[in-house]
């Protein structure tokens, strides 16, 4: 399954590269409106065409990549940074008050999809990329917490943990020294999956206006703008959509490839 990993890495890498390059160069400056050239289909001068303000779509996609990747990445960071310690703590105190508390907290957050959290935050604090990061990040926390807890619980029953307890190591120390290294692979794979989900979530939030606000470009908002014009200028909707699909696809393929590469469990295939 190296194929998955390589293909995924290439796809993802392309968009990460585009995002990074956009800091120093884009084919056109999108701040400058160019109305006479509006709604051009893809041609030699504008590879992806122009939008209703004459802005170059390719440049907007590169800049939009920045937004999507940044938001999704930071949201994964929040999810891991809070979720993994919570999961480790819950597993270390399995069956006791802390564990129950963390599990109930997880269940509670699961009742609030990212969109709903975003609605809540935006209504009271205003829309913006930061709020999108927080909303998606909050939803990531129980995902990682639950996964970490499950994996850690499986390990706590093993004899090598017992051996560490016999020599008097504390739960915290055991969690870091013994449990964490053994669940790292699982976390990496889940990280790429949550990253891809984050890209989709960010696109959805921007589409309804709850994400990054103008003038920061974002793929979701490009799609919202394209909606009314889709019958006369389908390229407006096509390219941002494809960008989302390919980035997410790339990340998912990478996740699958990583899973197979890092944990090649030789399954005994039954008759």
């Amino acid at each position: 399954m190296r194929r998955n990993l390589i293909l995924g890495a290439v796809l993802t890498g392309t968009f990460v590269l585009a995002a990074l390059v956009s800091f120093v160069f884009t084919p056109y400056d999108i701040e400058a409106l160019d109305i006479p050239n509006k709604l051009q289909p893809p041609n030699g001068a504008h590879w992806f065409g122009t939008d209703h303000f004459g802005r170059d779509i390719l440049s907007m996609i590169m800049l939009g990549a920045r937004t999507s990747i940044a938001v999704a990445l930071l949201a994964v960071g929040i999810g891991m940074g809070l979720g993994i310690p919570l999961g480790l703590a819950a597993a270390a105190r399995h069956g006791r008050a802390l564990d129950e508390f963390i599990m109930r907290g997880n269940d509670l957050i699961f009742a609030f999809p990212s969109l709903v959290i975003a609605i809540l935050i935006t209504a009271t604090f205003g829309a913006g990329a930061v709020n999108a990061i927080i909303a998606i990040g909050i939803f990531n926390v129980p995902v990682f917490a639950r996964l970490t807890r499950g994996a850690a619980l499986g390990l706590w029953g093993r004899d090598f943990i017992l051996a560490a307890r016999v020599v008097g190591k504390s739960s915290a120390r055991i969690s870091v020294e013994h449990i964490l290294p053994n669940i790292a692979n699982l976390m990496i794979v889940q990280g790429t999956i949550q990253f891809s989900l984050g890209i989709l979530a960010e696109a959805g939030l921007s589409y309804v206006g709850l994400g990054a606000q103008p003038p920061t470009p974002s793929w979701g908002r490009m799609l919202a703008d394209a909606q009314t014009l889709v019958s006369i200028a389908p390229h407006l909707a096509l390219f941002p959509g494809m960008a989302i699909v390919l980035t997410v696809l790339g990340l998912n393929l990478m996740g699958d490839g990583l899973r197979d590469w890092l944990d090649p469990r030789l399954r005994v295939v039954r008759a």
């Binding site: 109930r104 999809p113 609605i119 909707a237 696809l249 399954r267």
Partner: protein
């Protein structure tokens, strides 16, 4: 079984209470003074005072919370500031679009996913499996609102099988309403169905590696019989979890997709209310959304007990 159901019901009530507290805190406590937030910086003091009185803000917070919850339980969600009409009525009208859409999509998603997942698992490693996996890999990567736009382009504008948007209302006929919701439901169902198909497949494959499957084969059951009679029911347990989780995503997705099809659902209501800073509406809609998710998950918990006898006997 009764014990289990009661325990779950208790859990449901607690979740609702805590969720309502969280929503209340974020909406009414966090911005400081909701009244000045809603009216903006240039508000006159007497307008502010009037609004405060109307919103009941002079009452201590804890009491306000109980008044709010008490009101909701009785069906009174307050008066919308922006529209000046009872929130309960506005929500009810729109719920009749969003909720059926989410359920319709859930049904479609399940209808696509189960056969696909079972087929892929039973034909593991063959071309059929690879094709299904490839399709789901693509389906998972597609944003549902973009897919909706493409669907509109193909099916509504070019082929003219469906209208490009709008909702005639249930009073004009059940099937008319269903037709209007079909394209949106398909757009919603596809990505979620892809996820569900993958979960179904992997859950089934996990089951097929279990010892009791080997026992079944030793009894003389064919591979096919083993899959249907033994693996499937056990594989349903993790699948049910995902379905419960999916409902919350579908509800959220329904709200987003309403924008593509101009459906008069909760989506438009809540986004307009956010712009209008109508906290009362936002509060109520969010509460309702969370309530639906918690109730659906409760139903899923009960379904677990039906499928898995180990849960019935225990505490």
């Amino acid at each position: 079984m009764v014990r289990y159901a009661l325990k779950r019901a208790l859990s449901l009530v607690i979740s609702l209470i805590v969720a309502s507290a969280v929503i209340f805190l974020v909406v009414e406590v966090a911005p400081g003074d909701p009244a000045s937030f809603m009216l903006g910086l240039n508000a006159q003091p007497d307008t502010l005072a009037a609004l405060r009185a109307e919103l009941g803000l002079d009452v201590p917070r804890l009491q306000r919370y109980f008044l709010w919850v008490g009101g909701m339980v009785q069906g009174d969600f307050g008066i919308s500031y922006a529209y000046r009409s009872p929130v309960a009525q506005m929500i009810a009208e729109r719920m009749w679009v969003s909720l059926p859409l989410a359920l319709y999509a859930l049904g479609l998603s399940t209808a696509i996913a189960f056969p696909a997942g079972i087929y892929a698992a039973s034909r593991r490693g063959t071309l059929g499996d690879t094709v299904v996996m490839g399709a789901t890999q693509l389906g998972v990567a597609v944003p549902n609102f973009w897919f909706a736009m493409i669907c509109v382009l193909i099916f509504a504008i070019n082929l003219r099988w469906f209208s490009a948007g709008g909702f005639p209302g249930w009073e004009k006929g059940f099937w008319g309403g269903v037709k209007a919701l079909t394209l949106p439901a398909i757009a919603l169902a596809l990505p979620q169905g892809a996820i569900l198909a993958r979960v179904m497949r992997s859950s089934l494959l996990d089951m097929l590696g279990e010892d009791f499957i080997r026992t079944a084969r030793a009894k003389g059951l064919s591979r096919r019989q083993t899959l249907w009679r033994h693996a499937l029911r056990n594989a349903m347990i993790p699948v049910l979890t995902i379905i419960g989780l999916q409902f919350s995503f579908l509800l959220a997705g329904a709200i987003i997709i309403e924008q593509v099809f101009f459906l008069p659902g909760l989506g438009r209501l809540v986004f307009q209310s956010i712009s209008a800073r109508d906290l009362i509406v936002v509060e109520s809609v969010v509460m309702l959304l969370v309530f639906s998710v918690i109730v659906v998950n409760f139903a899923v918990d009960l379904a677990y007990a039906v499928v898995d006898p180990r849960l019935r006997a225990r505490t």
